[in-house]
């Protein structure tokens, strides 16, 4: 019975929605949504004219319009938008109101002076979506991807110290969510808890979080959600734009510079480029009472893109390079269980160090190259063929404190090649249907680079994944219904030496996934979406093959080659309210996962000459995750504004009736902001308060109890000044104003140290 509660919660959410009122004779209405035929993006500001009543109106930001108080009869509707073919529709209004989605086709290109617009596709999904852009993204600059995404309700981080943060969506992370770098699924060594996503947030113009199961669209592993890191559109005409960021932070004495420049070529119409680069340097992080030894960071990133857009064809070449060297808190590397227990009992690092930028062992060096070619071709006005090919090379080296020459050698040295190929067709018809059909191939080769002097943690392997999918959407005015199905096949062949004997293993996995979702605009200010999706994830290579000591963690981890794929069913419901003064969004979900793989302490210890270690094994059990996130804002006056957001997650091992480790505790964030100034020159002051509860639902075994609840206060100031045609944004932020000592349950280093203390950041952004 207990298991039903989350479902009942979700059903209740559904029932809150009022049914549309029954139409009276002269109380009929025509409702519509106007979108681009080409990419399904809404068209705001399209002109809608009803001939009979001489009523005219303009579509709102989402492309919606509504004409009320119509009597029965026949009406002629006209929709016009610059550069697009006019739509004329004869509508018979009988007893019901009329709903329709109108797709506008771009006018023939022969017409001179018609502007060609870019081809960036919007995320088309009925699942809950939240995007980080504009001012919010500006405020997050200088943070890593995980930290930036904490601004989205329902997203937290699973971190290892302050420089390694993995995003967590609705309690799931690592290989249970997916990150796309400009449309290509990021393939690093995501299985490791201390392996951060290899991506520079500065390349993004928008970061979108999809909170639903999106395996059908994006492939296996997208169980908990998807993060889309999207650069700006490549210019299609000569229009030089440069974005410069200079940031500094007091804590860790961090300095960060990023430049993005984009322009179009005058000589070739539709050809444009964008280049972007960033450099970051930080030294030892300071907790309120001490410095954390060896927590510096060096990062150099680059990306570039060249794009061509003609009416029928679009092509893009993209390359991004991510390169980081980061220190791992010296005290977190323990020799054996006794060491580990001693430092946990101590509650803080033993080392007493000062500030330095130097990075010593233990450290990580990671380089990630990503190249992609993307092209689409409009076969006719309804069909579009797409091709996308991506190549990735991930090089990861991890260094431990070792004796002699070995100290200079990585103890983990991995090289991962990934090829991804997407071939798909989109169809958009003037009638109610649109959809995507495609083929997706992922091929991977992972090698241990010899010479580490350590038995490799995971074997060398080759992986091939093929998926076929189809998604269809039915749109009628405020209603959208979407469904999709996918079949995947995966083959993994591994090779390694066990006791000097070659061991080769072939593994096959295959699975069907499907989803069904709907989106309904209840009124111009209220929308509801629901999505039920299945997803799957084959076991990771480390879950299958780990066999030995996890260096630094004082743990012996034992994999299981017979693990089955995880399968999940996630139901997400989202209610969104927007009015002039307030916005509110509520997302409730339940995610049932069968064969959930987790690392379980066996209770045994392993004794060696080095001392004693805890033994962990990978097990599978059925799991249930459920919860909700909310966010809202209210404008008291045009200057004075308040916001609140928060999330609650419950996750249970339903077989054992106990809790999983590292599930985010309940948390909320609220704040007040005051705005001064006129339209273009503004000053904004924000005071915010972050409240994080203690995780009272602890697993049966943990090295240390969950840390106490904490509250942090933050201050922010942002001013936007126009300088001629250019724009200057200046920001000052103070995080953890009162320099509180606290530990975050989701930070693995809570065993060793307090979290980061007060941090004052200065952010300068100049757009010219």
């Amino acid at each position: 019975m207990k298991k039903l509660i989350p479902y009942i919660t979700v059903i209740l959410t559904t029932l809150i929605l009022a049914f549309p009122s029954k139409a009276q004779n002269c109380n009929l209405s025509i409702r519509g949504k106007v979108i681009h035929l080409e990419n399904n993006q809404p068209i705001p500001g399209a002109y809608v004219w009803l001939e009979e009543t001489k009523q005219g109106m303009v579509t709102d930001l989402d492309g919606n319009f509504l004409i009320r108080n119509l009597c029965q009869g026949t009406y002629n509707l006209k929709i016009q938008f610059l550069g697009h073919k006019e739509i004329q529709e004869k509508i018979d209004l009988a007893s019901n109101s009329f709903n329709k989605t109108f797709r506008m086709e771009e006018e023939s290109f022969a017409l001179s002076g018609v502007e060609i617009h870019g081809h960036r596709d919007a995320v088309q999904t009925t699942t809950a979506v939240t995007a980080l852009y504009g001012e919010q993204l500006l405020e997050s600059r200088g943070e890593n991807l995980g930290e930036s995404l904490k601004r989205v309700a329902g997203v937290t981080t699973f971190s290892t110290g302050n420089s390694i943060a993995k995003p967590v969506i609705h309690g799931l992370h690592s290989n249970r969510i997916m990150i796309l770098n400009n449309g290509i699924r990021l393939e690093g060594q995501q299985w490791g808890a201390e392996h951060a996503p290899e991506i520079d947030p500065f390349l993004a113009d928008e970061i979108t979080v999809i909170k639903g199961a999106e395996t059908v669209r994006f492939g296996p592993e997208a169980m908990g959600g998807v993060i889309l890191v999207s650069p700006a559109e490549i210019p299609t005409k000569s229009e030089s734009k440069t974005d410069l960021y200079v940031l500094g932070a007091s804590n860790g004495r961090m300095g960060n510079v990023s430049v993005t420049h984009q322009d179009g070529f005058k000589s070739i119409k539709g050809l444009g480029y964008r280049v972007q680069g960033s450099v970051k340097r930080a030294g030892n992080i300071q907790s309120p009472d001490y410095y954390q030894a060896n927590t510096g960071l060096n990062e150099i990133n680059f990306s570039g893109a060249l794009g061509y857009t003609s009416p029928k064809l679009g092509a893009e070449i993209y390359y991004s390079f991510f390169n980081t060297e980061l220190g791992i808190l010296r005290d977190s590397h323990t020799g054996n269980l006794t060491d580990l227990q001693e430092i946990i009992a101590n509650g803080r690092p033993f080392s007493n160090v000062g500030f330095t930028y130097d990075i010593l062992n233990p450290k990580q060096k990671v380089a990630h190259h990503l190249g992609k070619i993307k092209s689409h071709y409009h076969i006719n006005s309804n069909w579009k063929a797409n091709l996308q090919y991506g190549f990735q090379l991930n090089q990861r080296q991890e260094f431990d404190r070792r004796r002699g020459d070995l100290n200079e050698r990585a103890s983990l040295d991995l090289e991962l090649f990934t090829n991804t190929l997407d071939l798909f067709v989109d169809h958009t018809h003037p009638n109610e249907f649109s959809g995507t059909w495609g083929l997706n191939i992922i091929q991977q080769a992972n090698s241990n680079i010899p010479g580490t002097g350590v038995t490799p943690l995971i074997p060398n392997y080759q992986m091939l994944n093929m998926g076929f999918y189809g998604i269809e959407k039915y749109s009628k005015g405020p209603l959208e219904i979407e469904g999709g199905i996918r079949f995947d096949f995966r083959d993994v062949s591994t090779a390694r030496f066990v006791n000097n004997e070659l061991e080769e293993v072939d593994l096959n996995y295959s699975n069907f996934t499907a989803f069904l979702g709907a989106y309904y605009q209840l009124s111009p200010s209220l929308t509801f979406s629901t999505n039920l999706g299945s997803a799957w994830r084959p076991p990771n290579i480390n879950e299958l093959f780990s066999q030995g000591l996890h260096h630094g963690a004082a743990a012996v981890e034992i994999g299981d080659q017979d693990l089955n794929s995880e399968k999940s069913l996630k139901w997400v419901n989202s209610l969104e309210f927007t009015s002039n003064k307030s916005t509110f969004e509520l997302t409730a979900y339940a995610n049932r996962i069968s064969n959930y793989i987790y690392l379980n302490p066996t209770g045994d210890t392993f004794v060696s000459l080095r001392g004693t270690f805890n033994v962990y094994e990978y097990l599978q059990a059925n799991a249930l995750f459920y919860g909700f996130d909310f966010s809202g804002s209210y404008e008291f006056t045009s200057n004075f504004n308040a916001y609140v957001k928060g999330s609650i997650i419950r996750a249970k091992n339903t077989d054992e009736d106990n809790f999983f480790p590292f599930i985010p505790s309940d948390r909320m964030d609220w704040g007040l902001s005051y705005k001064l100034g006129q339209e273009k020159k503004t000053h904004k002051f924000t005071i915010s308060n972050q409240l994080v509860a203690r995780q009272s639902r602890e697993p049966d075994f943990d090295l240390a109890p969950a840390p106490d609840a904490y509250a942090l206060f933050n201050f922010g100031y942002l001013t936007q000044l126009p300088i001629g045609q250019n724009k200057l944004n200046l920001g000052l932020q103070v995080q953890n104003i009162f320099n509180n000592s606290y530990k975050e349950y989701m930070n693995r280093f809570r065993y060793f140290t307090d979290d980061i203390g007060r941090n004052i950041l200065l952010k300068i952004n100049y757009q010219f």
Binding site: Y308, S310, K312, L313, A315, R330, T334, G335, N336, T338, D339, E342, N346, P349, F350, S351, I373, S375, H376, Y377, L387, Y389, R401, R402, R403, L406, F417, N419, L421, I441, Q443, A445, N446, S447, N448, I449, P450, G451, G453, V454, T455, P456, N460, Q462, A495, R496, F497, N500, L502, Q547, G548, L549, V556, I558, V607, S608, L609, R610, G611, V615
Partner: protein, 200 residues
């Protein structure tokens, strides 16, 4: 223009080529360079003036698989004579790589130190007394002097020998070979072996 329109086709050809070109390397046997498989305690009896007498006696702790999951280490019982003084030389060896780790420890003398703990060394009635006597003069514990009480309170005790790596040797108390709070000096444990001790 025509060529550009065929771009998807060319891209496909290129990508298919790359697809076939990506394979993992053949795995290689990796010998664990850092693993310690054998620790030998060599006791040489010293006369009143500090000169060695007789043949050294050795006691060994070994774990052929290093720190891989498998068999537990075999630890011999240390047997010493009451009232005598010994020079203790510790030898650390990696049998997998056939490498003498003692040398490496001496090379990085500033980063390594042995601690001598357990009921054999710690406590007012401890039967053994240890003094560092390394050749370089630095406190390492590769060589030291062990004095056995002539009439100890008990004849059986535990000798716990810990090798610390990357510690702060200047930490207050770190110069004491029986420093129980060695973790406070930072670093990590490379060896932690408890030898049973019998006094005759």
């Amino acid at each position: 223009m025509k060529t550009i329109q065929k771009l998807p086709f060319y891209a496909l050809i290129v990508s298919l080529f790359v697809f076939t070109a990506c394979e993992p390397e053949e795995p290689v046997v990796e010998n664990d360079g850092e693993v310690i498989t054998d620790v030998t305690l060599n006791f040489t009896e010293l006369d009143a003036s500090g000169n060695p007498v007789g043949t050294p006696i050795s006691f060994k702790a070994s774990d052929p698989e290093g720190i891989e999951v498998g068999a537990s280490p075999v630890v011999q019982t240390v047997s010493l004579m009451k009232g005598k003084t010994y020079r203790l030389d510790i030898e650390v060896f990696n049998a997998i790589e056939n490498e003498d780790i003692t040398e490496e420890i001496l090379e990085e003398a500033d980063e390594h130190q042995f601690y001598f703990l357990g009921s054999a060394f710690v406590g007012s009635s401890a039967p053994l007394t240890y003094v560092y006597d390394d050749e370089s003069g630095e406190l390492i514990g590769v060589r030291g002097i062990v004095t056995v009480a002539s009439s100890p309170g008990f004849n059986n005790a535990q000798m716990r020998i810990v090798l610390r790596h990357d510690l702060d040797k200047n930490y207050p108390g770190a110069n004491n070979p029986n420093f129980e709070n060695f973790v406070m000096a930072g670093g990590e444990t490379d060896l932690d072996i408890t030898f049973p001790l019998v006094l005759n």
